[in-house]
Symmetry: C2
Subunit: 246 residues, 2 copies
């Protein structure tokens, strides 16, 4: 189902309305990394010239991508990639009740990076067994709050195992975009609850069997291809997940 190397740019479907064809064409160019985070896309005028469509139609195509959360328009300036607006960090779901109200220092440490063969459940999601696995530990002040296990398809993220540790910031999605041209556009979180396994307990400094919150996240690019799967554990009593429905 999903493809793990750069998609072969499906031809626009002639049966679709013009504005949707243009939408698809632009989304494909964005997915190919044609424009960086801070370079403006072609203006409405340029696109009307390129395509022969009218401004109204071009605007409608762009507006569609804005609604989908991919682009962002700035009046007087131009149209840009939208920085993923959903707060990507799972970290924020673990409240730090600093009794004294001190500013605490968040820490983020990658404790392992290995090429690995994905188990079938994960391979089915990512579309390949040829993966890279990252293990990460996050905390605040002294408390360890989050143990993450992150799976990436090696075809898209080759070389991530060789990066200096310093080049990993606390947030991975900006790194994906800047280093590998992978733009995370959406994600699905699955929240559940389980007693800590021995491995998780050891990492978080908990007793085995202690209650933990489990977040499984699958992240997608614009075209709906899953490009990251992760599972995260943290102490249940610190956990609070907020979700807005509409």
């Amino acid at each position: 189902m999903p493809q793990h190397d750069s998609a072969p740019a499906p031809l626009p479907d002639r049966r679709l309305p013009a504005y949707l064809q243009l939408r698809d064409a632009l989304a494909a160019r964005v997915a190919r990394g044609e424009w960086g985070p801070d370079t403006a896309l072609p203006s409405e005028n340029q696109l009307t010239a390129e395509t022969g469509l009218s401004v109204g139609t071009v605007r409608k195509a762009i507006q569609t991508l804005v609604d989908e959360g991919l682009l962002e328009r700035r009046q007087g300036s131009g149209t840009y990639l939208r920085k993923p607006a959903f707060n990507a960090s799972l970290f924020r779901f673990f409240a730090v009740k600093s009794a004294d109200g001190e500013a605490t220092i968040p820490s983020s440490r990658i404790i392992a990076r290995t090429a690995a063969t994905a188990p079938s459940a994960i391979a089915g999601i990512l579309g390949t067994t040829d993966c890279i696995r990252l293990d990460r530990l996050r905390g605040q002040s002294d408390a360890l709050l989050l143990s993450e296990e992150i799976w990436l398809p090696r075809a898209r993220f080759d070389g991530i195992a060789d990066l200096e540790e310093a080049q990993f910031g606390p947030l991975l999605y900006p790194l994906y975009l800047e280093r590998f041209g992978v733009f995370i556009a959406s994600a699905i979180d699955d929240v559940s609850f389980a007693p800590a396994s021995a491995a998780v307990a050891a990492r978080l400094g908990l007793a085995e069997g202690a209650p933990t919150a489990v977040i499984e996240r699958t992240a997608y690019t614009v075209d709906g291809t899953a490009v990251e799967w992760r599972i995260a554990h943290g102490p249940a009593e610190r956990f609070r997940y907020r979700s807005r429905l509409s």
Copy 2:
């Protein structure tokens, strides 16, 4: 802060673009219950005649409300209230693993309906202390899965305590709309984990202190007024909450 009786229809802000003024006017009329769930709103032509604006501007106003999730357009037919699309039932987060694959029968029982004075945290959200409290128990086959405590402002829901039990379906939001003209447009869920209190344990047939998932939900009307607050508990090992981010 929020108002619990029908809002006094703020005058349109002349400084706003025409399409936003029309958006506000339409949203206000929707909030006042001017149109039922299956009656079409005025057509584009009617609205252009009423307002003196052009079709394009009218379309833009309507499209804004569609994007906000309030309305729904059906080509060839008309523009309607959108039925709240988010699956309102908290019940769905509790997986029933019927080992034998039998179709199970969900049950829903209101076990208490009382006028009550809301504690300050809830009163702050709902804007009043004068509330009605519903207690509900939901299950499937034999297993009890969900204990809910629901708080409603009495001003909007007066008479709900007198309804026949049979008039409560498994879903409350349709009842709110049909009986009280309250349209739930959005909600915020807060998910956490806690050991079962004595009361919750007794209701769900669990041991006191058994791990439970806790969902706190605040539900809002179109204009952002909170009109329902609930807290729900269920057995943690059955719980799985899914959320789509974008």
